[in-house]
Amino acid sequence: MAKRITIDPITRIEGHLRIDVEVDNNAVSNAWASCTMWRGIEKILRGRDPRDAWLFTQRFCGVCTTVHAMASVRAVEDALKLEIPLNAQYIRNLILIAHALHDHIVHFYQLSALDWVDILQIPKADPTATAKLAESLSPWTRNSRNEFKAAQDRVNAVASSGQLGIFMNGYWGHPAMRLSPEVNLLAFTHYVQALEYQRKALQVVGILGSKTPHIQNLTVGGVANAIDLDSPSALGMAGLENIRVLLDEVVRFINEVYVVDVCAVAAMYADWFKIGSGVRNYLAVPDLPLDSAGTAYDLPGGYIMNGNIAGVHPFKTASDKEFRDGVSEDVTHAYYQGAKPLHPWVGETEPAFTGWDGEQKYSWVKAPRFKGDPMQVGPLAQVLVGYAQGHPLTRKYTDLAIGKIQTVAGIHVTPDMLHSTLGRHAARAIRAAMLAELAQKHWQLLADNIAKGDYTVHNQPVFSGSEVEGVGTHEAPRGTLSHWIVIKDEKIKNYQAVVPSTWNASPRDRAGNHGPYEASLLHTPLARPEEPLEVLRTVHSFDPCMACACHAFDPSGRQIAKVKVL
């Protein structure tokens, strides 16, 4: 008989994502993804000055602050047909890259590595053998026996105290955990080191954006950074040099640690290249513009339908007509009023809460669709869309990662295997390596442009009274983000944000098509249904972020995740 399992880490206030799966013969036979909290934040923006919108959108989410700020100014600029000075493009690009590198490092190590790494195996590892293994995989200088021993000692101290602290809630000793003690120690040591390198990436955001977590330097039409080579308070030689040094360290960590670890873990769990594919329609927008008008980009965009990589459709610009016209949101299974799918410019956000009903309405997330179809977004979409177009940088790092996995696993790996749970992790590491190279490129572009004597950072926005529409996109760490704005009389008439996790966490639509999380869970084998580690592995591979954080502290203990078996 089928069993129903609910994973609900969620409290009344703090919760966001809930997953329900039906399990039959130890495999998932049906799945529902839902968000348990209403946002409706967009309504706050109506009637406000479009120039201030980014300050508000930056508060949508405490993890993705900068990305919502960026998409917002781009939406207003698109509506006003406003070009951006080169310096502003480069500074924005550097902020976006640094934020993404921080985010990808944190996602792999702090938020998902422990789905694959078993803490309780670490005390059994031999640090000397671990160092030998590590040296065979990477030139990383912090792969010494002493580093591994120190990390092992920390785990031993925690384990022997009987207080697992931050690790108390993992599925340790689960039969789906399969790494050797040495590989567990290796990955865990990098989990500890990762904390330092994600911080360095965030420092770059802080230097350019004046502050983190909320950057201060954006403005519609460009950036507010004063450029002066000699002034210590403006962006000059000293600031640029700081950024270069920080980026170099982060880049080395990405190439010598993150990419290597993902490939090694993937090689040892190679069966997960066959699990978790789900929706094989992929969507990505071009990003990292290289000119003022936004006609050339360092990251390509486009879409792929039904896994047909050869049939990729490229997007020419970040607000390509096909994209602008193709997006709609369906609320058949979401707690909103409305009958037919609506384009975001005429989108509505009127709640109609009914309580969870898997046959009817069950989520606060709308179901975004592209030309009527569900789309998977995120690093995998971006890598596949780029790879399909023969984009050299995407090919370079994808082929490199595939080669590494083949060497360690001793199996033949093809790009088609990326349609999977592990494929999402591999693609995120590939994307990080691409962004690492682009970080250095855009730093050089900025430094060279300033050296030419161009200090321009801002073009003045000009509003007309008439009604105009715009879309601002960003290929964010979790995928395609789009902010849709309608402006009239210098005020916001309508505003909708279609965020990456809305695409991926979407509920079913009117045609009954599953969203990407839901589809990816179907057929997943579960070794112990009451400890659904395998479900978490696949959901985590998307890097979910429900972007509606309300962080009240709940002292009653309701923060404890519930895994309910019905």
Partner: protein
Amino acid sequence: MKKVLIGGIGNVLLGDDGVGPYVVRLLAARYEFDDGVEVADLGTPALDLIDQISAKDAVILIDSIDTEAAAGALVLYRKSDIVRHCPAVRMDPHSPALVDTLLGADFFGVAPTDVLLVGIQAESYEAGCSLSQPVKASVDQAIAEVLRELDHLGVEYRRQEHPAEVDTWWIPEEQAESALAT
């Protein structure tokens, strides 16, 4: 000199959840602090909160709370009160929240010695940029608790001779607080 973080936590777009950022911005406008004190609107942080609290001697956080208490009630928590609860299974990057942050800081050896959470019971988390009346009425008391903790830590502060404008940019102008209030 003691290194102290006074951090406001919460989402300024979700009603009373914005009380943490609101309180720290009032504090910054009304008072001057020792050089070692950092006053910050932290928004809704995830794991980066570890970076914010690491290498501090003391951390004072102001956040809305969700308890059975009456709206506007103040409840003070020490670290042991907060970490009594085991961390959640992580579904998304927000899950680490406060419990995980403090336990993580312990594990990485960067935990502050003193932790105080000044909790203010919320009335409403509906989308919107204003505080409810009961929560607003408790703001000065929350500020007093922060200052009392600074006294306890032996950290100096004084009233600004010329109070700065309060930078609560998200609040509609007619509802904005004056820094001159008590």
